[in-house]
Each structure stands twice: as C-alpha cells, then as structure tokens.
Symmetry: C2
Subunit: 286 residues, 2 copies
C-alpha cells in the first residue's frame, strides 16, 4: 500500500485508555510515532500509561492534545462518542483524522456527521478484536494480531485518509482490513459478533444441572461460553443500538434450532446428517 506520510511525523491521541485504547497504545509504540498521547477521565489510568511508557503524556483536559494531533483514535463506549465530539469540535486540528472502534455504525455515523466540522475527517472503523475483560490492565498488542478490521467509509472521507487508517490497522497487527457500507457492517456484526454473545449468555444461563459444571465440561462448552463473561454496560448499548439487525439474526437462528430440534424429535437421521454436513462444509471454508 502506498502511503504519503511518515508515522514518525505524526502526533496520535488515544481517547479512553482502557482495553482497546491501551492495546492501541501498546501496538503503536513499536511504530514510533512522534508522540502518543492519551485522554481519559481516569488520572490513574493515564499515570499507569506513562509509567508503562506506552504513552508520552496523559491529559484529563482534551484541548491541548487534540489541537496538536494528526490522528485521534476514540476508544470510548458507544454512547460517549457523540458527546465527546460535540464538546471538542472546536479543538481538533484542521485536516486531522479521527477514527473510532465502535461496534455499531449507522446511528453513530449519522450522529457524528451532523456535528463534525468540515475540515476534520472522521474515518469510521471497527477493529474486530477485544477481550471479555475491561480496562488498561488487560490491554495488549496481542489482541490485534491476525484479527479483522472493518472500515465503513462515507462520502465525506478523503481517500488518502482512509488509506492512512488502513495502514495503521495493518501495522498494529490486523490481518485483513476490509471496507463495508455502514448498513452491511451492522448486519454483519449482528451475526458474527452480537449473535454469538446472545448465544453464549443464553447457554450459560440455561445451566440447571445443580452440580459443579466445571467437572463435567469439555473444550466445546468452555469455548462456546468464554464470551458469556461479558461487559454488561457495553454490550447492552451495542445490542439496543443494533436492535433491528440483531433481532432478525436471532430469529433466523431460532428457526434453525427449532428445525434441528424437530429432526431429533422425529429421529430424522437424514435431515440431521444434512444439517451437520452443511455446517461442516461451511465451517471448513471459513
């Protein structure tokens, strides 16, 4: 990918130094940007970031770092992004690029594009990486290794700025960076990310065995339920924001579970084998 910038000339500010922000800071460090700053309301997190040498300086007040930043990576909870942009819309440097990590896009893009100044380019992104834990202490550059990154461009974006965000995504460790419309993104994410979380939570909450389940599980139960340990604040926001898509995907799944249930009830061996062969072939090609 051709790029017309040198990362060593850029000041980058991370807004929100939690799991995602901390992981960005850790993964950006080896690329040696001019400065990596962080903004947070939690002074302890900022102090820890400086102590770990993953940021050059931390700020409780966003004004100064935003004024000098070429790139701003917003790693806040979805509902906090718009208020942050509104409160700081006059603080961003002219020509700077802002990006985010939010898991739902349509509403976010409408909200943001209605308030953002013309000379600031917000390139919306979704790094498909995370952990079931929250906070700087669980952050790691490893979180991004080999993962997928979705960019949802819109007509306001300059092509070179999209390329800049793609370059950063690739260089902090993401393997595939693809572009989707916000509509397709939200549909895709309802299926590949939100639906698995619904399932994992529902499965764990269906445990009525009355014994120490840990003694009687295999790898499959452990793997399927890892994400049932979930950041309840974040995922409640994401589910409700993407309600229409998610409900639709849940209903398709419900039909498929019902179909398998009926095949078992009717001891319909052929139909069960068809389901298994279909899923095996799809999973193999994933």
């Amino acid at each position: 990918m051709d790029i017309d910038f040198n990362i060593k000339d850029l000041n980058i500010t991370i807004v929100g130094l939690g799991l995602m922000g901390g992981s960005f800071a850790k993964a950006l460090k080896p690329l040696k940007p001019k400065n990596v700053w962080a903004i947070d309301i939690d002074g302890d997190a900022l102090g820890e970031g400086v102590k770990l040498s993953i940021i050059d300086r931390g700020y409780l007040n966003p004004k100064q770092p935003l004024q000098d930043s070429d790139i701003v990576i917003i790693c806040l909870y979805p509902t906090l992004v718009k208020p942050f942009i509104e409160a700081n819309k006059d603080n961003f440097k002219k020509g700077s690029i802002i990006t985010d990590v939010t898991g739902v896009k349509i509403g976010m893009m409408n909200d943001i594009n209605s308030v953002i100044p013309k000379d600031i380019d917000f390139v919306f992104g979704h790094p498909m990486a995370g952990r079931e834990k929250k906070g700087l202490e669980y952050s790691s550059a490893q979180v991004f290794q080999g993962a997928n990154y979705i960019i949802t461009p819109n007509q306001r974006n300059k092509i070179e700025n999209i390329e800049t965000i793609k370059w950063i995504a690739k260089n902090v460790g993401f393997k595939k960076v693809i572009e989707l419309s916000p509509q397709k993104h939200d549909e895709v994410i309802a299926f590949t990310s939100q639906l698995p979380h619904v399932l994992a939570v529902a499965l764990v909450n269906s445990d009525d065995l009355g014994i120490d389940t840990g003694s009687v599980v295999g790898d499959s139960y452990r793997e399927l339920t890892r994400i049932a340990q979930i950041n309840s604040e974040l995922w409640t926001e994401l589910f409700i924001e993407n309600k229409v898509n998610l409900i639709q995907k849940i209903e398709i799944l419900q039909e498929n579970i019902e179909k398998i249930k009926n095949s078992i009830l009717e001891e319909d061996v052929e139909s069960l084998k068809e389901e298994f062969e279909e899923s095996s072939s799809r999973r193999k090609n994933l």
Copy 2:
C-alpha cells in the same frame, strides 16, 4: 489412589483405532503396559499403529487379543458396541475389565449388561475429550490433557476395577475423574456437550450474509463454531440416543434466547444487564 496392580503386567487391547483409540494408544505407551494391542476392521489403521510404535500388534480377528487381555478399551461408534460385545462375549478373559468411551450411557448400559458374561466387568466411562476430526491421523495424547472423565458405575462393578479405570484415566492425562449415575450423566452431557453442538451447527447454518464471512469474524465466532465441523455419523447417533434429555435442554435454551430477544425488543436495559451479570458470574466460577 492405592492400586493393587502394576500396569507393566497388563495386556491392554484397544478396539477401534481411530481418533479416540489412537489417542489412548499414544497416551498409554509412556506408561509401559506389558502389551498394547488393537483390533480394527481397517488393516491400514492397524499397520499405521504398528509403524508408529503405538501398538505392539494389530488384529483383524478379535479372538486372540481378547483372550489374553486384562483390560479392553472399546472406542467404537455407539451403535457398534453392543454387537461387538455380543459377537465376542465368549472371547473375553475371565476377570478382565472392559471399558468404553461412549457419550450416552443409559441405553448402552442396559444393552450391555443384558448380554455380558458374569465374570467380565464392564466399567462404563466417558472421556470428555475429542476433536472435530476423525481417524487415527488426528489422534494425539494431548487430546486428554487436563480434560474431564466421567465414570458411571453400576452394581455389577467391582470397586477395585473402578479404581483401575480411574487410575488409567488419570495417568493418560485426564485431570478430573468423577462418578455419576448413568441418568445424571446423560442429562449432564445433553447440556454440556450435545447442546453446544446443536448451537454451533445452527449458528453456522444461519449465515445468510452473502459475503466472505471469514473476513468479518472475530475470535468469538471462530470459537463458537469450531465444533460445527462435526462427525455427522457419530453425533446423529448420540443426539437420537439421548433424545429426551437433549430436547429438554434445547427447550430451556430456547426460552432463554426468547427472553433476551424480548429484552432487546423492549429495550429493557435492566433486564439485559441482569442476564449479562448472571452469565458473567457463572462463567467466572466455571
């Protein structure tokens, strides 16, 4: 655990040298039993076992190895176990111990206990370990490391023979070996093993995105769907054999999915957070 035998004095025969049988052979080898033999209808698998030095000899005809074996580990598909026992009931050595690896117990135990000679002790077992692939080539002693093993004793079993099977389970790498009634085992397995497989298959078969799903998934989708690549023959047998328990567990899950769906529909933030906090706490304690 006190044992009154030395593994070095024992001849052990594995019936069915596939994924499970091969893994037993590989895990038993370092324990140095007197002999490890295998019986299979596939001469190539037996040849491969000898070539890999994981068995001392392979047999197409079960008679001779069974007559000299102190322990027989049956690693056949569920529906093949009873026919094998019936066909060979006069071939087993007096006082020998037979065990199995079958994932559903009630029907199997009734079937087997009605045909097995009095002086042979069948200790039913279920190593909760496996892989989504089948065959000797995917077998590995690693499959058992740290996994759980369930034994379902019955009144025919001698305590010392149960202890022998437990000793073997521990020494081939299993971490926890617990005893359950066959009824409880089948209920437990419907929830911890079969239900996750139903879910994974239903999830993968719900993919209607129409794009390369592999580019837009995170760890959660990959983990939840690994077991959707499934041995269709084996799992069809297991599901139908354990139909009553499995249907019951599917229905509990369906209620929980419906509950979460309704909370999303109604944007019931409090109820969603309750579900997430419940699942987080349960998963943490697993």
